[in-house]
Amino acid sequence: MKRLVIISGLLSGMFVTLVFLLNNPVSSAGLSGAAGKNAYYWNVLEFAGNNFSPAGLLGLRGDNGGSSLGAEEVALANASILLLQDSSGQPVAIATRLSSVSKGGDIFSGNVGTETYTNIFWPNRGSVFMQGYENRWPLIRDDLLSVFGPSEDAEYAVSAAANDRADTGIVGGSGQLVGVGGSYSETLRPDPDKPGHYAGMISLITPTE
């Protein structure tokens, strides 16, 4: 009887804490993912490397769900080419993106993320460089909770302040966008056409617009 009480107390404590951690009130505050004036919808044209599956981000599975890049040094990174469309679905720009798992991931504070570097090129206009941080904890949480049923039409605001408080945002550009600055935010949603991958919406806020 005593053992049963101790085990049930232990399990209850663990369960309650797990629920608390999954809905962590002190989790890193994300940046607003609302669609602004310069909002683009993107999907992946090409992808190589670790696809940052929730289980992979926690190191729970040997298989990262992506493709190997052939070296341990880049095992926690990926590269992709994105097509950006405007709100009417018209392709307007192409982008490359390089991402790597960030240092300092911490389940306790609900912050497990990736560093993301994006280069968008608008034909005949110019390009911008952006550096950002994505907190993937909401995706991990939903993946863990999916044992109770899949979450439909999930959309995640992932842009957040970096762990080391490094600068994020638009850091420069070319052509008509020379010297541009500003910020951006991003939301992700599972891409129905490419299982295991995400599509998204990126909203750019520049001082001139």
Binding site: K2, I6, G9, L10, L11, S12, G13, M14, F15, V16, T17, L21, L45, E46, A48, L57, L58, G59, L69, A71, E73, V74, L76, A77, A79, I81, L83, Q90, P91, I94, T96, R97, S99, S100, V101, S102, K103, G104, G105, D106, I107, F108, V112, E115, Y117, N119, F121, P123, N124, G126, S127, F129, Q131, A166, G172, G173, S174, Q176, V178, G179
Partner: protein, 213 residues
């Protein structure tokens, strides 16, 4: 008998509360010290420059290090109104693995090439590079209609690089944060096979120094 039962229940409640607290504590500790995977630190093979800066060289072997379509990388699907396979609207995007001077894979890179207007509205070729070294940081670099040291194009000192194939480092993070400098791209194509596959290498040299005066 009643008293004994009550004392027993009280003891069980205490056991439950103590083990509940232990469960909370254990889970919090596990969450705090859970080893979330992170990239290994890749050490730089930098050379010191006479002017106090440093040079790092990265190599891309073609076609081995090209990611994705090995022929011409990926462009937007055609035909689309916004893009064209040729002319000024053509934008080429490529992804690569990157090696250090010793040939070890240390990172990833992307290259974008297209046209953008200069000060006078003339379309000029622009080449953007991003270089990511997991565990160290990233570099964003560009040449064409970009600013170099506050002036467009005609920047005299490129830390020894040729004006023809070099451009400024736009931004850096991690180990590259707070550094300014230039990069140079040198492509050597040894042969192109019957399928149009290029064999050779791309050498990206970076020269950086502290941006602080």
């Amino acid at each position: 008998m009643d008293g004994l039962l009550r004392a027993g229940n009280s003891l069980l409640i205490r056991f439950f509360l103590a083990s509940f607290a232990a469960g909370v504590l254990l889970t919090l500790l596990a969450a705090r010290f859970y080893p979330v995977p992170e990239p290994e630190k890749v050490y730089s093979l930098a050379s010191a420059l006479a002017n106090g800066g440093r040079e790092e060289v990265y190599i891309i072997r073609l076609p081995d290090d090209r990611l994705g379509n090995p022929r011409a990388a990926s462009t937007a699907p055609y035909p689309q109104q916004a893009f064209s396979a040729t002319g000024t609207e053509r934008v080429l995007a490529e992804l690569f693995r990157v090696r250090n001077r010793e040939g070890e894979i240390v990172g990833l890179a992307s290259r974008m090439n297209g046209k953008a207007p200069d000060d006078l509205g003339m379309q000029e070729a622009v080449t953007d590079w991003m270089l990511l070294i997991p565990g160290r940081g990233a570099l964003m670099m560009s040449r064409g209609t970009v600013e170099a040291g506050g002036e467009r194009e005609f920047f005299v000192d490129r830390m020894g690089f040729s004006f023809a194939n070099s451009g400024p480092i736009i931004s850096g993070t991690g180990d590259f944060e707070g550094l300014s400098g230039f990069y140079q791209e040198e492509t050597e194509i040894e042969k192109v096979d019957a399928n149009g596959q290029a064999f050779g290498s791309v050498k990206l040299s970076t020269r950086m120094k502290s941006a602080a005066p």
